[in-house]
């Protein structure tokens, strides 16, 4: 009996509960949310396998060196948490191409993979230049009323909305 996929929880509820997790992690561990620094650490770790001297000599890796810290474990936890949630409510499904992408750019997994890869490069370069991603600037900095958080979150959405409009121009509206 295949049912249409369950709709999950209200985003307001799931979001507010996430807010409580943010408060708890500030209280218990003194840590604020973030995700993109962990990509720097993992990237440094991979490069270290090939040229440890080079990684040791780079300023950026001296600050965000290859090590497993609170945030790396948090990002690992996100994979596990999303897996548990989707497996237990039946929303887990192996998909190589998202529906909306397929409706505009076709069903090719290779094409989707190539663009996801390129988009990922640009996104992370921007995140590190800005100093963080939506987790760090939204859920970490805006929560603490940082000026940086407000500027960056506005730019994330402004950039995303403008470029999404350009990319999807001429496509089906839904």
């Amino acid at each position: 009996m295949e049912q249409t996929e369950s709709r999950g929880w209200s985003p307001y509820l799931a979001g507010a509960l996430t807010g409580i997790v943010i408060i708890a992690s500030a209280w218990i561990a003194g840590n604020y949310f973030g995700a993109s620094t962990c990509f720097v650490r993992v990237s440094g770790f991979i490069q270290q396998l090939f040229s440890p001297e080079k990684v040791a000599s780079m300023d950026y890796f001296r600050w965000f060196g290859p090590k497993v810290d609170w945030q790396v474990m948090m990002v690992l936890g996100i994979v596990i948490g999303a897996f548990i949630s989707s497996k237990t409510d039946g929303s887990f499904s192996i998909k190589t191409v998202p529906d909306m992408w397929a409706s505009r750019f076709g069903p090719s997994p290779v094409k989707r993979g190539v663009f996801a890869f390129i988009g990922g490069i640009i996104l992370m370069f921007g995140a590190r230049l800005a100093g963080g991603c939506p987790s760090g600037y939204g859920l970490g900095a805006m929560v603490q009323l940082a000026v940086s958080g407000l500027i960056v979150v506005v730019c994330f959405f402004a950039g995303g909305i403008i470029f999404a409009r350009i990319i999807y121009r001429g496509g089906a509206s839904r």
Partner: protein
């Protein structure tokens, strides 16, 4: 060690809630950027507004120390817009990309690989950036209450009011 376990548990809860809110998917992320489905905006700002109130209490009571990311206006704006460009192509942000992988979206894997390459490229070019873009408009670790000269609770009330107004607007529009 306990810090690492705390991080893992925090991540599991965060990933669980991201997935329950259905915000880790490409269709939801792009739905927001295309102004068609504001699920992620509702989730994101519900989390921020709730966190804002609780964290302010912790700061006021001295239970948790603030950790304010510095404002570097040039890098914040250029990096933020560049992130927006990449985001509109990959359709996942760093936190949701790993969540999408957890619910079986394998295209997120290529996005994550790209993000690792992007991090490596930035590390390479960082010496140049630190002499140029990162020097433009360095304001340090400033907060909105500081620059506005207002009590932090007034700023929080303003944010919560605007946030609730946004939610009402989105529901009225059926987004």
């Amino acid at each position: 060690m306990s810090t690492l376990i705390n991080g893992l548990i925090t991540g599991i809860l965060f990933g669980f809630l991201l997935q329950k809110g259905r915000v880790v998917r490409y269709d939801k992320q792009m739905g927001a950027l295309r102004l068609m489905d504001m699920t992620i905006v509702k989730f994101f700002f519900s989390a921020i507004l709730t966190g804002m109130v609780g964290v302010a209490v912790l700061h006021n009571l001295g239970i948790a120390k603030p950790l304010i990311l510095p404002t570097n206006i040039g890098a914040n704006i250029i990096g933020g817009l560049m992130f927006g460009l990449g985001w509109s192509i990959v359709g996942y942000c760093p936190g949701t990309s790993v969540g999408a992988l957890g619910e079986g979206r394998t295209d997120a894997f290529w996005g994550i690989l790209g993000m690792l390459v992007g991090a490596a490229l930035f590390a390479e070019i960082f010496p140049i950036m630190s002499r140029t873009v990162l020097m433009w408009g360095r304001e340090g670790s400033i907060t909105l209450p500081q620059i506005l000269g207002l009590n932090n609770w007034i700023v929080i009330v303003l944010f919560v009011t605007m946030g609730l107004g946004l939610f009402v607007f989105l529901e009225k529009k059926g987004l």
